[in-house]
Amino acid sequence: MKAGVIVFPGSNCDRDLAVAFERAGAQVSMIWHKETELPDDLDIVGIPGGFSFGDYLRCGAIAAQSPITRSLIRHTERGGYAMGICNGFQVLTETGILPGALMRNANLKFICKPIELKVENTDCAFLSGYSQGQEITVPIAHHDGNYNVTDEKLAQLRDEGRIAFTYCDNPNGSTGDIAGVISKNRRVLGMMPHPERCVDDRHGGTDGVAMFRSLVDSVVAA
């Protein structure tokens, strides 16, 4: 299984994500944002956390216009796998690959702490390692994680089983307590919490392991 991690100049969780993929058995390449094409043998593209272009105005807005992002859009349109974590999720919503928008946290503060998530759906490669309704602990670290969608869209996401995780105790004001969503074809995941920060006993928790492992296993099996 081959994973590519996109590196924007302000990405700062790129190495962390690469390490998590590697631990799950993937071969990882780092892809600079000025590249115009993703390598064509990638099984999954990761868009890491950080502050892609400083994100002083709207998080992920400039990254959404980056040369590599056009290739990412084509990759997802072809049915390729992708996962965006934190700033990566913001980039995915800015490109329209995933619905909704991430606004400033309701308390207007940056929040970094481990929080409880509830697994809402398991029928996709990212989530098949969890059980429906399972509660897991994953850290968050963001200033703009307040997920917003219209009521209509929220109903649609629920109907289509596209809500990946909800917060047990909503930290940021997200609509419907949503912490992560998946695409219609179930091959793109965007989430604010950082599963790559809980894949190692020394992280104080390993609830992220199942995600990377099930992803690698299902892509290898496919």
Partner: protein, 719 residues
């Protein structure tokens, strides 16, 4: 543009005293130009020249087999084995943070990160030691909110985990808050970069962000007292851009891999002036700069403004000429400015050209080498009156008052605004004691702490200086780490007052004695003087940042207390209440002497903890609030109650030094007692962890109730 005439007022506005100006005249043998006056003012202010403290700083122990580079460079460097080193420093950004809290604190973080990566190290940890005025002071909340947000805003975007620090409140900081920022990075010992230029005619390269008018005169501002004209100083505070800093770090580290760098220096205080002079002076060379080639953000900037600008996220480098194209490509990749702005000269000369005109032509080495140095008069701080009677207090009432006070309540409101996990190597998050970061890709780890108890230093600068080092040593020890070295950030009032100078001298003597005894040499540091407003000085605050090594994560003491564990105190308890947290918070008294620090006992007890870590489940040093606070915090972290045998006020709240609280099971407790007995180390069982209440003698309260007080006590500091 016509430069202003040199007048007495202009000289004094540049912070130069008449005798300093006379020295300037003697050095150059003529009246300086306006730009030259600015350059001297920048180099000779307190902030850059250490003119009041240098004599005493020289007495500090700075060497040891573990030290690769001591003070004098951008940061200190300590060997951690396996070809790697930890590079670290602490630096103040007090004055700017008081004037403009968000940007002041943010650029403080930026400056210290730059000091670290300039030497070839990737930053892996940050800490902040913050001192604010009293909670009810009208300015405090705004400062707390702004400073914390600024630190988070910069560090989170840059991507360095913030793993520890301190926050305190005291009326003495009402007019001068302190923001001391620490950063540490990891470097390969064979890829460390220094600032000394070498080679004549080598290109001097400007890297990073463009130069604007921000921060002109900042270092001079930081060397003056505040008065009611402080609002006018807002334009001297710089604006931070952590995204540019992140790119500058990546580009700099990438550039260093190419072998293009001869020497490199970040532009911090006094920007282009200080960095160019430092590189030339250390290399015994001159420097010529052509200012029209400096990347500029604003139009019509003068030579004076460019030389004194403190725009952030900039570096100066001496480059191997044959590597220019390669170097330029790296900076273009990261979309940063790269400009050749001058060259090194064989002669001792600092030549500043602007559009073909000579704006400054000075001998270079006297700018730092002949900076004024003062042996300021000082008086020994008089011994304080002995402590008068302290009434007995109900133990739970005393504990509640302490843990509900913003000084000792839980600080999650602060550290949850800092990304403390980015880089995915944080193995011990902030909250209690030292933070720990794993050395990426290995099983080793580095522990970090910052400590000082200003009340003690005020009462007794010598013992207080010792205590700051000792507490840092204990915090590293309590997580199982071996203390390696320290950095000192000395914050004091006006050194021209003999009693303030006496505090500085006393504290430095105490720090020196302690770092020698505990083998934690000072490898870097910073001095911030003139922390006074309207003649009112701060508490003397010599912050000590300390770094320790864990050869293996298995050596870490990171368990929690469990039901049935024995509570043991290692070290002697005499019940010293002078200058204690209890006195200050409950009785509103700051009297008595600071506790004496027995450095031999500190060393012995620290070694004992490390040698017996396998017997110890959880460990905490005893400091502010003594046994009562330490036992409560350990119970709260473990979610288990604690029952201490005594309700005696001095025993519970005394702040005797060289002590640790340890939790372990009964068999381990017995073994520890035997080991301690062999070495003559005082050890005592003081109670048990059990149930769901905190009990001290006959005084008792539910753990949940106390935890609630502890978790919300900080709220009044920011709401």
């Amino acid at each position: 543009m016509q430069e202003p005439k040199i007048t007495e007022d202009l000289i004094s506005a540049h912070g130069l005293k008449p005798d300093e100006y006379d020295l300037l005249l003697e050095i150059i043998g003529r009246e300086p130009t306006f730009t030259e006056l600015g350059i001297f003012s920048a180099m000779w202010n307190e902030h850059c020249s250490y003119k009041s403290s240098k004599k005493w700083l020289r007495t500090l122990p700075t060497e040891g087999p573990q030290v690769i580079c001591g003070p004098g460079e951008n940061a200190g460097i300590v060997d951690i084995g396996d070809g790697q080193a930890v590079v670290f420093k602490m630096e103040s950004h007090n004055h700017p943070s008081y004037i403009e809290p968000y940007q002041g604190a943010a650029t403080g973080v930026g400056g210290i990160l730059r000091d670290v990566f300039t030497m070839g190290a990737r930053p892996i940890a940050a800490m902040n030691s913050l001192s604010f005025g009293e909670i009810d002071h009208p300015k405090t909340k705004q400062l707390v909110n702004g400073v914390v947000e600024g630190i988070g805003g910069y560090g989170n975007c840059f991507g360095v985990p913030n793993v520890g620090g301190e926050v305190r409140f005291h009326p003495a900081y009402n007019g001068n808050c302190l923001v001391n920022a620490f950063a540490a990075g990891l470097a390969d010992t064979d890829k460390i970069f220094y600032s000394a230029a070498s080679g004549v005619g080598m290109p001097v390269v400007y890297l990073g962000a463009k130069t604007g008018r921000d921060g002109v005169g900042g270092a001079t501002m930081a060397s003056a007292e505040f008065d009611d004209t402080i609002e006018d100083k807002r334009p001297t505070v710089q604006v931070g851009d952590p995204f540019t800093e992140k790119r500058l770090m990546e580009a700099t580290l990438e550039l260093m891999q190419t072998g293009a760098v001869i020497s490199i220096q970040d532009m911090g205080a006094a920007g282009l002036t200080c960095s160019a002079v430092e590189m030339g002076d250390k290399g015994g060379l001159g420097v010529k700069l052509n200012l029209e080639d400096v990347p500029q953000r604003e139009d019509n900037m003068t030579a004076y403004e460019m030389m004194l600008s403190e725009s952030q996220e900039r570096m100066l480098m001496v480059l191997k000429p044959e590597k220019e194209a390669e170097a330029r490509a790296v900076f273009e990749k990261w979309d940063l400015d790269f400009a050749i702005v001058g060259e090194t000269l064989a002669e001792d000369r600092f030549l500043i050209m602007h559009n073909g005109e000579v704006k400054a032509d000075l001998p270079l080495s006297p700018l730092s080498g002949r900076a004024p140095e003062y042996d300021r008069p000082w008086v020994e701080t008089p011994a304080v009156e002995p402590l008068s009677d302290v009434p007995e207090i109900d133990a739970i009432d005393g504990l509640k008052a302490l843990i509900g006070s913003p000084n000792y309540a839980a600080r999650q409101w602060v550290y949850e605004q800092y990304d403390h996990m980015v880089m995915a190597d944080t193995v011990r998050a902030p909250g209690l004691g030292a933070g720990i970061v794993r050395v990426h890709g290995t099983d080793k780890a580095i522990a970090f702490t910052s400590d000082v108890t200003p009340r003690y230093v005020m009462a007794n600068p010598f013992e207080g200086g010792k205590q700051a080092v000792a507490e840092a040593y204990r915090n590293l020890t309590a997580v199982g780490a071996k203390p390696l070295a320290t950095t000192d950030n000395l914050n004091f009032g006006n050194p021209e007052k003999p009693e303030i100078m006496g505090q500085l001298v006393g504290a430095i003597k105490g720090i020196g004695e302690a770092v020698a005894a505990l083998d934690v040499p000072i490898v870097s540091g910073n001095v911030s003087l003139y922390n006074e407003t309207d003649g009112q000085g701060i508490l003397p605050t010599p912050t000590i940042g300390a770094v320790g090594l864990l050869d293996s994560l298995d050596d870490m003491i990171d368990g929690v207390a469990r039901d049935g564990h024995v509570a043991m105190v290692i070290g002697e308890t005499t019940g010293h209440l002078g200058q204690s947290a209890l006195l200050a918070e409950v009785f509103n008294r700051e009297d008595g002497d600071a506790p004496q620090v027995d450095l031999a006992a500190e060393k012995k007890h620290g070694d004992f903890i490390r040698a017996n870590r396998e017997l110890i489940k959880a460990c905490s040093d005893l400091s502010d609030g003594g046994l009562a606070i330490a036992a409560f915090e350990m119970a709260e972290a473990g979610g288990v109650g604690v029952s201490l045998d005594t309700a005696d006020t001095p025993t519970l709240f005394g702040e005797d030094q060289a002590r640790y609280l340890v939790a372990c099971n009964f068999d381990q407790a017995e073994a520890l007692m035997i080991e301690a007995g062999k070495l003559g180390i005082p050890i005592a069982s003081v109670g048990r962890f059990t149930g769901d209440t905190v009990k001290m003698g006959g005084s008792e309260a539910p753990l949940d109730e106390l935890a609630q007080i502890f978790r919300t006590g900080f709220d009044q500091a920011h709401r």
